[in-house]
Amino acid sequence: MAKDKKQIRIALRNCGFINPENIDEYIARDGYQALGKALEMTPEEVIDEIKKSGLRGRGGGGFPTGLKWELTRKVEAEQKYVVCNADEGDPGAFMDRSILEGDPHTVLEAMAINGYCTGASKGLIYIRAEYPLAIERLKIAIGQAREYGLLGDKIFGKDFSFDIELRYGAGAFVCGEETALIHSMEGLRGEPTVKPPFPSESGYKGAPTNVNNVETYANIPVILLKGSGWFASIGTEKSKGTKVFALAGKVNNVGLIEVPMGTTLREVIFDIGGGIKSGKKFKAVQTGGPSGGCLTEKHLDIPIDYDNLIASGSMMGSGGMIVMDEDDCMVSVAKFYLDFTVEESCGKCAPCRLGNKRLYEILDTITQGKGTEDDLFKLRNLGNVIKDTSLCGLGQTSPNPVLSTMENFYDEYLAHVKDHKCPAGQCKALMSYIINPDACVGCTLCARVCPVDAISGEKKMPHVIDQSICIKCGACFEKCKFGAIFIE
């Protein structure tokens, strides 16, 4: 690969190049050729090709895609279903939306290939209703594909029929879990059930169902056109191909990137991302969304792949990547993610429903400056029990932001509970605005802007802030022209 180019665009190959509302443009870039090619092969040959490519599920779990297809194929049933999981819900992640908006046909084509391989004649795309543009473009794409006969009966003149319908989700994060997703499509409450049985045995309406994520599908046509060998030459030993990340946070170039597996976090953050904003110091990077963990300086040179990220205490997840700098308080970061999980837990199993709530409350206590060392013990035990006992992937990973920040930033937690200080200066309850009497000229400006009259002092004499009244709004700090107010 050319040294200056850290990215390869496979899943994103057409995004930004074609008009997503014109099927001819997709076809002009070899669209639907993979489907035509697949239909010349036996389903087993196609599955074998996918297996040899080493493609693993891009929704986060990393299950080998070819194997998943094979499992669904092997179950005998009159009706089977192929589902596209487009219920992207990680905060700050929009990989799937971009693919659906920029290249909807690739997903349709891959689903049809999947249908051919598994023996399904019906495809369903479960997409959040909050993605109206993606829905619109999918509808247009499905209509165009039907007109060309690329969906419908006797595709490519062969004895293969396949059609796709849309199903809308209401944006519940847990509906990205495949059993919950299926229940939601069935009109039931979107909550997971214990696996086994896996959807490949009993899924939508009890029929064998193959669920793959948008980005996984987007890789399929390329594997068939360029060959599994080509695909498998990219990436690491156990993680092949590329991964799309939504790079966000305190980097200069936030955006959607696609890098080969094995790229290091350093390359992503500093070379592609252009380094940390405003010349600040890198502190941590959060991968895997609410299910992932925070990695630090020492993880920067680890090649990114499924297994390395898990070994480091995080996970691939669907591809959210949030970069933090020295101003970010890691306790607050953990609290932010727990807040999300508490909202998004379906409530079915006790450890997730109640445990995450308690984790959040303990973190809140700590950021309020009321935490104790005992709370740190509780966080760890509770976090581990939630991971160990929760019903689905949501609960089994939800304590990761807490556990990984405790692992990597324990001193910061200690500072909160022992010294009652927030080293990053983010936890308001732990901050004090103090007037340096040597620098204060007694201009009274601070006292005048203070909304709660916490500042007192004679004119031309040093002023003082009454800490018991101060609400830490920072108004005095901003107004002081003499730099006499500092934060402790």
């Binding site: 508490v342 909202e343 379906c346 409530g347 079915k348 450890p351 109640l354 709530k357 303990i362």
Partner: protein, 588 residues
């Protein structure tokens, strides 16, 4: 049969393929604590959402702990049910559940019978390390059922009972995460929903979240009021279960002790709903024969099959869910209401008191009876035929309040005239009993011949839907039986589709019939309790000298002195009712 060999707590176990780890552990004496799990064999009730995570165990080679209630045994599996990791997880999860539970045990009606309390005690939890906000919900007080969802632990048993078993669909989980709770749609009060008040949700609730509306105090107020004459009727299934509340073996018949206790509590007359059950048979049986003979003579307007109507939850069910079929069930009132109507007329006249001064109390295995008693059509000038309906559990509480040593009480007999009953009245308490009682009478009324046998084994049992053909001296009568509203629904759908071949169908809302009613002592998931109660009911029937309703001498006297003939004008006025279309039309 495929066999699986595994190891549980170092003990080799051999089980049939498909057995769960929880069940396999039981076979070698390893009890794994459970909370949300509940399974009633033969009753089509199985609740194992895998939600509470109390039953988790460690399985070698698996990353996470596994819920033993949902995990099937696999060859070579090595299971540890009580490792430090497991015990810590189990305790922590239990503490979490307790951390969101009101600590009202001292005044909770479920105290001492609460599965959560038992679990906490079994695990020896003395401190809750993870305290925090508790979820609160508005409480909902219907005439029959009270919902205090602050005490809900999301075990979903009620949801399973309401949806899977009863197919009523009133209760389901709503909201997400910490706020999630089981409730009617839009968190409506039960009163405004299609709830049938069958009370099966209450029967399976592990905590005090779902309980009956307690009326024991109202009963005491009536008893101490010198202006009131207070009489009580006891339903057939009560006597087969009441003893359990006093530590007696399930299935112990306590009819005589119950009568003594009721007298001691202060009721002026102690009567038996079984008497009214005999009356029901005469009315319903006559109605059946009437419809049948009109049908056989070619009248196409006659609706068959005739459906029994003594179960109030069942009546609610078809009024809400199948109102278009409301002219199919028998118009006969339930025994409770027949008793009330006769007591407030015939018996009040005998005592020469005004109906307003006669208080009729019923002891029922049922919660829907509370609602039934409050129906407007069962009131005269605002005075209900049955003033107060209490459950078996409430009666037990009253006996305890009266400081009676129940197990040591001598036997006594019901008062006359409304206390005399036959074996036919007794078997109303179990599924299949009403129709068997009806057969005994209808056969003899129709054929004019005496039955040579009284035990219709073909109508008995616990299978959800049963059928039998009884030969009415050359006329084959096809009989269907369903218990559990889900099973009732199946038969109703058949009738609707014109596929039903039955002449008469007995329907009981509760699995097992009244023995499994929502007001009975809690079975805690032990289906044997219900089976033993059923056995006791048939024993009482077998021990009766008179076993056919139409031979009850006091029933005969009632018709001679007061009613005239079955299904006559007086009967229609007092003993029959009509049904309403209560289908909910919810507009969003």
């Amino acid at each position: 049969m495929d066999i699986v060999k595994l190891t549980i707590d170092n003990t080799p176990v051999v089980v049939e393929k498909g057995t769960t780890v929880l069940e396999a552990a039981k076979t070698v004496g390893v009890e794994i604590p459970t909370l949300c799990y509940m399974k009633l064999d033969d009753m089509e009730f199985e609740n194992k959402p895998g939600g509470c995570r109390v039953c988790v165990v460690e399985i070698e080679g698996r990353r996470n702990l596994a819920p033993s209630c949902k995990t099937e045994c696999e060859e070579g599996m090595v299971v540890n049910t009580h490792s430090v990791r497991v015990v810590n997880a189990r305790r922590t999860v239990t503490e979490l559940i307790l951390s969101d539970h009101p600590f009202e045990c001292l005044v909770c009606s479920k105290s001492g019978k609460c599965d959560l309390q038992t679990l906490a005690q079994d695990l020896g939890i003395r401190e809750i390390h993870y305290q925090g906000e508790k979820s609160t919900y508005k409480s909902d007080k219907s005439p029959a059922i009270i919902r205090e969802m602050d005490k809900c632990i999301m075990c979903r048993r009620c949801e399973t009972a309401c949806n899977d078993v009863q197919t009523v669909g009133t209760l389901s989980a709503i909201y997400r995460g910490f706020k999630s709770v089981v409730a009617p749609a839009f968190e409506m009060d039960l009163d405004h929903t299609n709830c049938t008040f069958c009370g099966q949700c209450v029967a399976v609730c592990p905590t005090g979240a779902l309980i009956e509306r307690d009326h024991t105090w109202k009963v005491m107020e009536a008893i101490i009021n010198p202006e009131k004459t207070v009489i009580v009727q006891t339903a057939p299934a009560v006597r087969a279960a009441l003893g359990e509340e006093f530590g007696m073996e399930p299935g112990t018949l306590v009819t005589g002790k119950m009568v003594t206790a009721l007298r001691k509590i202060g009721f002026d007359y102690v009567f038996d709903t079984d008497f009214a059950a005999d009356l029901t048979i005469l009315e319903e049986g006559t109605e059946l024969l009437g419809r049948l003979s009109r049908f056989l003579s070619g009248n196409k307007d006659v609706k068959l099959p005739i459906l029994t109507s003594c179960c109030p939850a069942w009546v609610n069910f078809f009024e809400h869910h199948f109102p278009e079929m409301k002219d199919i069930p028998s118009t006969a009132k339930s025994p409770q209401q027949m008793f009330g109507a006769i007591a407030k007329t015939y018996f009040a006249d005998k005592l020469q008191i005004k109906r307003e001064n006669l208080v009729v109390v019923s002891v029922m295995p049922c919660l829907a009876k509370k609602y039934e008693a409050s129906r407007d059509e069962f009131k005269v000038n605002g005075d209900p035929d049955v003033n107060i309906s209490i459950t078996t559990r409430e009666l037990a509480q009253m006996i305890k309040n009266a400081n009676l040593k129940f197990t040591e009480l001598p036997d006594d007999d019901f008062d006359r005239p409304l206390g005399e009953s036959t074996g036919a009245g007794v078997i109303f308490g179990t599924t299949g009993g009403v129709i068997e009682a009806a057969v005994r009478t209808a056969y003899e009324l129709h054929t004019g011949k005496e039955l040579d046998r009284l035990d219709f084994e073909e109508l008995r049992g616990l299978e959800g839907i049963r059928s039998a053909t009884i030969d009415f001296d050359g006329l084959p009568i096809n009989i269907g039986i369903a218990h559990g509203l889900g099973n009732a629904r199946k038969l109703l759908e058949d009738i609707k589709a014109g596929k039903s071949q039955f002449h008469a169908i007995e329907i009981m809302a509760c699995p097992g019939g009244c023995i499994g009613g929502g007001g009975q002592p809690y079975h805690h998931g032990d289906v044997n309790v219900l089976k033993k109660r059923q056995k006791a009911i048939y024993e009482e029937d077998a021990g009766k000298t008179i076993r056919k309703s139409h031979e009850n001498p006091y029933i005969k006297k009632l018709y001679e002195e007061f009613l005239g003939e079955p299904c006559g004008a007086k009967s229609h006025e007092l003993l029959h009712t009509k049904y309403f279309d209560k289908k909910k039309k919810i507009e969003i």
